[in-house]
């Protein structure tokens, strides 16, 4: 007899609700559920993305047993041995070099909030360092940092369902059709309901295609555009002066800085006519209520935090805060990247964004956890290679890395440095569900249960806590992430144990006032609870939109304006590398594909080596045709991918989907970081393109690379029915 299990989709941050249909202990299909954000709809990942749980062994093999590297080779061992060995090595390193020589990650994916809370507690209380971070660093860290400064809270101020009722949407550097199809649905609905849509994007995205105005700006010019819009709003007297006077600080300085950013001044930076910028600014300012949505096209630049602050400033100028269907929406990419941040898997704060440098907050956690906690902010994820490779003082160097549910060997910028760092580290722990590139460098592998095999809570992009539920029994000798971390911690001498995720959640709530009211019972009852939710009673149903009545989350209740000088991207195209490259998303795949790359139908739709999108003119000039294999080179690396000629990109600009292992564009990208958020500039680097005359050779090259990747990942490629 089959059963249906209600849960939250493990892919993007939309937080879609779905039923997993289980027969004989196996998931056979999924059915959309009527969730707050998805209203009975799912995209292809929600419909067909659970398939990896059946381990079809397409890209990588599921981990089923702990492993320890002995004499250079990973060997399967029992849990006791793996845990004791891990604890012993970490204690040795801590003893010899101090707690700050150890780094840990949180996990923005399947593990859930409870495991992240336990992980940051482990790093802070058991190891004694704030060196914990997660992949929010390579995506929306600028939004968190920027909005924290501007508004006092780093999350979406608007709710996903409210988007369809706004009067104007300004979508900048965000392609919802590829990254959040269920958000794209709301945008389509907003348009149908009469909202104006303005898109700023160098590509003709699906949203740009249906927009009223498409500002097809030059990559890397976001801040110039945003400040020019501010300039126009001020110059043409469209400022909501009462809102500015009552609710903000720093307007006069802002005004002074944007004064020089006239549309004429930025014309040559943005490659947009001055009049178009004026018109966009006017439309935005005069809308009764307007929302700004952004994604990686804002965040993955060396100047990202400034743009986030600039976008918040536009909303402040026009009084677009305080009610529903307005405000700002940094739309979080991964299912639980919001949760990773919420739970304090960040080097500067505990759960609920309580700063580690705040004495009162730290003392509260010290009392609860019975240990002294470190006072200094920890190391951000993207600084790991630097702290391993460049720091000469052995005492100050990183020596161990506990990598939990992430694959820095594939997903972090400038893979060359990252791999060298993984080689040089004395001790690398990999805790994951599938073998991956990081695993090839790991000293210990701790196999964990996946989404669908454990309970917990995820945070959707719009601050919504929702339950995930166990649907099937894990196959293999696996433990949940939080159990594994507790065992390591206990073996290291800091005992931690919990009966279930609810017990962890309740500890987290007791230490986190802004989440205190979001009980399991309330989530059960309401389906979703959006933070802040401070009271346990059913009267407090959470907070659909932030900054009600223009009261911001800073202690003084005010928001802060910000403007600064525009900076060009770090690596500009030249004679040797004449094209620009930006990394983009493939709708049916996720992150490094250890999940979607092991889903049958998603892989049927798109597979290695991925695509490079190029203008028709550039294809003609280089004599390239559809699907031809081509070599792409940057100063850092070289990969093979397929040509996709398209009318949707400008001449000189190229775009590669970042999910691929053979056409891995992170081999090419530049490790140029935003100085505040340490986020890499994945959206801009210089490349050149090399036609491959012998296509038969190139096709074989791709096929052989794929086969060797799969063999490396533990798949028996000779088995019948195996792909390729």
């Amino acid at each position: 007899m089959g059963k249906q299990v209600l849960t939250t989709c493990p892919y993007c941050g939309s937080g879609c609700q779905l039923y997993l249909n289980v027969e004989n202990g196996k998931i056979v299909s999924s059915t959309p559920a009527n969730g707050r954000t998805n209203e009975g709809n799912l995209c292809l990942k929600g419909h067909y993305g659970w398939d990896y749980l059946n381990d079809p062994q397409i890209l990588t093999k599921r981990l089923t047993k702990p492993q320890i590297r002995k004499n250079g080779v990973l060997e399967e061992v029992e849990w006791d041995e793996a845990i004791n060995y891990t604890a012993k090595r970490l204690n040795e390193i801590k003893e010899k070099y101090g707690p700050d020589s150890i780094m840990g990650t949180g996990c923005a994916r399947g593990s859930g909030n409870e495991a992240n809370f336990v992980m940051q507690k482990f790093m802070r209380a058991a190891v004694g360092t704030n060196n914990i971070d997660h992949c929010a660093r390579v995506c929306h860290a600028p939004s968190v940092a920027g909005l924290q400064y501007s508004l006092g809270s780093g999350a979406m101020s608007i709710s996903i369902p409210e988007i369809e009722d706004t009067k104007l949407l300004f979508v900048i550097g965000y392609n919802p059709a590829e990254s959040h199809p269920i958000m794209a649905r709301r945008i389509v609905k907003a348009k149908q309901k009469g909202a104006k849509i303005i898109v700023a994007d160098p590509r003709i995205t699906e949203t740009a295609r249906i927009s009223d105005m498409h500002l097809q700006l030059k990559g890397g010019s976001n801040l110039a555009l945003v400040q020019a819009m501010g300039n126009v709003i001020i110059a043409e007297g469209m400022v909501d002066q009462k809102f500015v006077d009552d609710h903000t600080l720093g307007y006069e300085e802002y005004k002074k800085t944007v004064e020089k950013y006239t549309p004429e001044y930025v014309e040559s930076i943005c490659h947009l006519p001055a009049e178009t910028i004026r018109q966009a600014a006017r439309e935005y300012a005069k809308a009764e209520r307007a929302a700004i949505l952004w994604g990686m096209g804002v965040c993955q630049f060396g100047q990202a935090v400034d743009v986030v602050k600039g976008l918040a400033s536009l909303a402040l100028l026009t009084g677009n805060f305080g009610g529903p269907s307005m405000g700002v929406g940094p739309v979080r990419g991964q299912n639980n990247v919001q949760g990773g941040c919420d739970m304090g898997a960040l080097p500067n704060c505990y759960s609920g964004y309580q700063n580690v440098t705040d004495d009162a907050a730290r003392e509260k956690f010290e009392k609860a956890w019975g240990v002294k906690l470190p006072k200094e902010n920890g190391i951000p994820l993207t600084q790991v290679p630097h702290h391993v490779l460049d720091v000469k003082d052995e005492k100050k160097r990183l020596h161990a890395y506990y990598i939990f549910g992430e694959d820095p060997g594939q997903s972090d910028p400038d893979l060359h440095d990252m791999r060298e760092a993984l080689d040089k580290l004395d001790f690398v722990i990999m805790q994951d569900i599938y073998m991956n590139k990081t695993g090839l460098k790991a000293d210990v592998i701790l196999p964990a249960t996946a989404w669908g095999e454990h309970d917990g809570v995820y945070s959707s992009a719009d601050r919504g806590f929702q339950r995930i539920r166990k649907a099937v029994e894990p196959k293999g000798d696996l433990k949940t992430d939080w159990e594994i971390i507790c065992l390591v911690s206990t073996a290291m001498g800091y005992p931690m144990s919990y009966k279930n995720t609810k017990e962890i959640w309740d500890e987290m709530r007791s230490l986190t006032p802004s989440f205190y009211g979001a009980t399991y019972e309330k989530m059960e009852e309401l389906g979703c609870v959006q933070w802040p939710c401070r009271d346990e009673s059913m009267e407090d149903k959470g907070t659909p939109y932030l900054h009600k009545g223009g009261i911001f989350a800073h202690p003084n209740g005010k928001a802060n304006f910000f403007a600064t000088e525009w900076r060009a991207p770090g690596e500009i195209e030249d004679v040797e590398y004449p094209f620009t490259l930006s990394t983009v998303r493939e709708v049916g795949h996720y992150s490094v594909r250890t999940m979607t790359g092991n889903c049958r139908t998603l892989t049927n739709l798109e597979d290695e080596p991925g695509w490079i999108q190029m203008s028709l003119e550039d294809c003609k000039k280089l004599n390239l045709k559809q699907s031809e294999l081509i070599r792409v080179n940057s100063r850092r690396g070289s990969v093979i991918t397929r040509v996709m000629p398209t009318e949707r990109v400008k001449t000189g600009a190229t775009y590669m989907t970042y999910q691929w292992w053979i056409g891995a564009c992170n081999e090419l990208t530049v490790p140029y970081l935003d100085p505040v958020s340490n986020t890499p500039e994945s959206k801009y680097c210089a490349i050149n393109l090399e036609k491959i005359d012998d296509q038969v050779w190139a096709e074989k090259q791709v096929k052989d690379s794929y086969e060797s990747i799969r063999k490396n990942m533990g798949i028996n490629t000779a088995e019948k029915g195996c792909r390729i």
């Binding site: 292809l44 398939d51 199809p181 649905r185 049958r600």
Partner: protein
């Protein structure tokens, strides 16, 4: 009148959920228990993207189908308001594929697992069959997250035409002389 599925470019976001939905409907959820190389993946519709348009393209189930008229072996017939290809009869001659002005037909390895006499794969014509015989009707419509696909039926067309004529009458009635 034959029915057909029409995509709406104002709603389509190009996510291609419909293409997988099509395959899963025709091959069955059993493919999720099969080895990845043991089933065929033949969507019967495609998503087309130009600078200004994104929409699914599939068989229009023409009233005078070029494909049916050129098929030398009678493998294409009309039934249940649809133009249907019989893979058993199809000899893979590709004439229908060339004849179709919509590009709605492609040639694929037959999904029934039947082989030619020498054991090699059978390649047959493949196109939308309106999910005839599949519970719930066209899968592409059911799985689309933005409701960008609609089944155009005789009743729907009649209602639409009748409404348009009424609107036209109201509008024309305003014009007294010309």
């Amino acid at each position: 009148m034959n029915y057909f599925v029409k995509g709406n470019p104002d709603l389509c976001i190009g996510c291609r959920t419909c293409m997988i939905g099509c395959v899963v409907a025709h091959e069955g959820v059993k493919i999720f228990q099969m080895k990845p190389g043991e089933y065929v993946f033949n969507p019967k519709l495609d998503i087309i993207k130009t600078a200004t348009i994104t929409m699914p393209v599939q068989c229009k189930h023409c009233e005078n189908p070029a494909c049916m008229n050129v098929c030398a072996v009678g493998a294409i017939q009309m039934s249940d308001n649809a133009v249907m290809i019989s893979p058993d009869k199809c000899i893979g001659c590709k004439t229908c594929m060339i004849a179709c002005p919509y590009g709605a037909i492609d040639m694929v390895v037959s999904s029934d697992g039947k082989k030619q006499l020498d054991g090699s794969e059978r390649v047959v014509a493949n196109k939308c069959d309106l999910c005839t015989g599949i519970e719930g009707g066209p899968a592409c419509i059911r799985v689309c997250p933005t409701a960008a696909l609609k089944l155009v039926t005789e009743e729907a067309v009649e209602t639409s035409v009748s409404n348009k004529r009424t609107a036209a009458a109201i509008s024309l009635a305003q014009v007294k002389e010309y």
